[in-house]
């Protein structure tokens, strides 16, 4: 450590004590901040997880009217079957099976996502294998234009499309007999068609497209495996 030399106009001397102090202060502040964040994170983690599960449960029961509870199932591509998943599972390949009071499966709720007018739209739809139709739809997340695109959530005529949207399986059980079709408002003639919304064509068509793509993948998978769904793991293979 050099003593300051008054007569020269050089850089100020390297003050170790001051530098150390700088590091010490920033480090302590950093540690304090870190501890505070981790603390709040750990405290709120279970609450947030509970909220997510409750919100998801709520949405599933909304699209499967006859269900009273639901269980998450994960699709296993390799094994070509479903296995039970924990209630707070996340990720692709999840479906939610709804059970009634008698613990019988009444339908499956599936999530899908697609690009709307403004941003991505996330939709949950309920499929009933008994009726071979989509019986409920709920928009989980959308940033569509208020008053126009957001009518996919509110317009009663549009929502009527989803009371019994035909997605019956073709004979081979691997594809849909009639893929979901989007038609102009008022031109619906078949149960597998979706009437668009005037003034919100892009948003409503996006919804129809998402449902079509998703149902083509999932309905064949689910439709033939309904009996494999139980409310708890029963030590099956």
């Amino acid at each position: 450590m050099s003593a300051p030399v008054q007569t020269e106009t050089t850089l100020p001397p390297f003050d170790v004590k001051a530098t150390l102090r700088i590091y010490a202060v920033v480090l302590s502040v950093g540690i304090f901040c870190g501890v505070a964040i981790v603390g709040v994170y750990e405290i709120t983690k279970p609450i947030i997880a509970r909220n997510k599960v409750a919100a998801r449960q709520n949405a599933v029961l909304d699209v499967l009217p006859r269900a009273t509870t639901s269980v998450a199932y994960q699709w296993d591509d390799a094994a070509e079957s479903f296995r039970i998943a924990s209630s707070d599972a996340e990720g692709d390949g999840l479906v939610f099976v709804g059970f009634d009071d008698a613990e019988k499966p009444v339908g499956v709720a599936i999530e899908t996502k697609g690009m709307g007018y403004q941003d991505f739209i996330r939709v949950l739809y309920g499929y009933s294998p008994q009726e071979q139709a989509i019986i409920g739809v709920r928009v989980l997340e959308s940033r569509e234009t208020p008053g126009l695109g957001d009518r996919i959530e509110k317009d009663p005529v549009f929502l009527k499309n989803f009371e019994a949207l035909d997605v019956s399986l073709a004979g081979d059980g691997k594809t849909l007999a009639h893929p979901i079709e989007f038609v102009k408002p008022g031109e619906k003639t078949e149960p597998w068609q979706i009437d668009g919304i005037t003034g919100a064509t892009i948003s409503s068509k996006a919804t129809a497209d998402m449902l079509r793509e998703s149902s083509q993948i999932w309905v064949p998978r689910v439709g033939t495996r309904l009996s494999t769904f139980t409310t708890t793991e029963e030590g099956e293979d």
């Binding site: 901040c33 964040i37 007018y117 403004q118 941003d119 892009i202 996006a206």
Partner: protein, 193 residues
């Protein structure tokens, strides 16, 4: 992993969902630096550069924190990286082009608090972009920011010669102009289906 095409990402960030006119990001410099066209463009260039660097760093940080299972440190890390990048850019500009450094003045350190830059890091993480997608996104955002700044500064320069009422001068008229620009940019929506 997001499957949007690079062209979609770029046009989206630059025009359809312009960071300033659609998302309201970077408003402070937008209102503050947009007096003259060339200052505006230089600011835009500096911001774009910082965005690109931060974008790459944010991608790395996100990957690291995901692996370490410490998502709560993301915000602090992002902001630390941005602050450091701005510091480096400042030193770089000071060395390379003194006049530019003087011209940008106080606004250079203020880039740190430019929400647009942090937003790039946050949005690309939320959307799950890969590395190349993130860089294209950042570039589009920067270009869009520069574009908005350039347009509004051009309008303001013209406005200096007009006879605006006292009551409206300054921030109010800029906001009104920005609102009209924003309506114009809304026309880009639905460009991609």
């Amino acid at each position: 992993m997001n499957d949007e095409s690079l062209a979609t990402i770029f046009i989206n960030a630059c025009l359809v969902n312009n960071f300033v006119l659609a998302y309201f990001l970077g408003i402070c410099p937008f209102l503050g630096v947009s007096g003259k066209r060339d200052t505006a463009v230089r600011m835009g260039a500096a911001v774009t550069f910082v965005m690109l660097v931060s974008s790459v760093a944010a991608y790395g940080i996100h990957a690291l924190l995901t692996w370490a299972d410490a998502p709560y440190l993301e915000l602090i890390s992002f902001i630390a990286v941005i602050a450091s990048t701005v510091q480096l850019v400042e030193m770089f500009i000071k060395k390379v082009s003194r006049p530019l450094f003087e011209a940008l003045g106080i606004f250079l350190p203020l880039i740190t608090t430019n929400c647009a830059i942090l937003a790039v890091a946050l949005f690309q993480t939320n959307k799950g972009y890969g590395l190349i997608q993130s860089v294209v996104f950042a570039f589009g955002a920067g270009v869009g920011f520069t574009l908005a700044l350039f347009l509004i500064s051009g309008l303001r320069e013209k406005l200096e010669l007009a006879d605006t009422p006292d009551i409206v001068r300054g921030t109010a008229i800029t906001l009104l102009l920005a609102g009209m620009l924003s309506i114009c940019f809304m026309g880009f929506a639905g460009l991609f289906n």
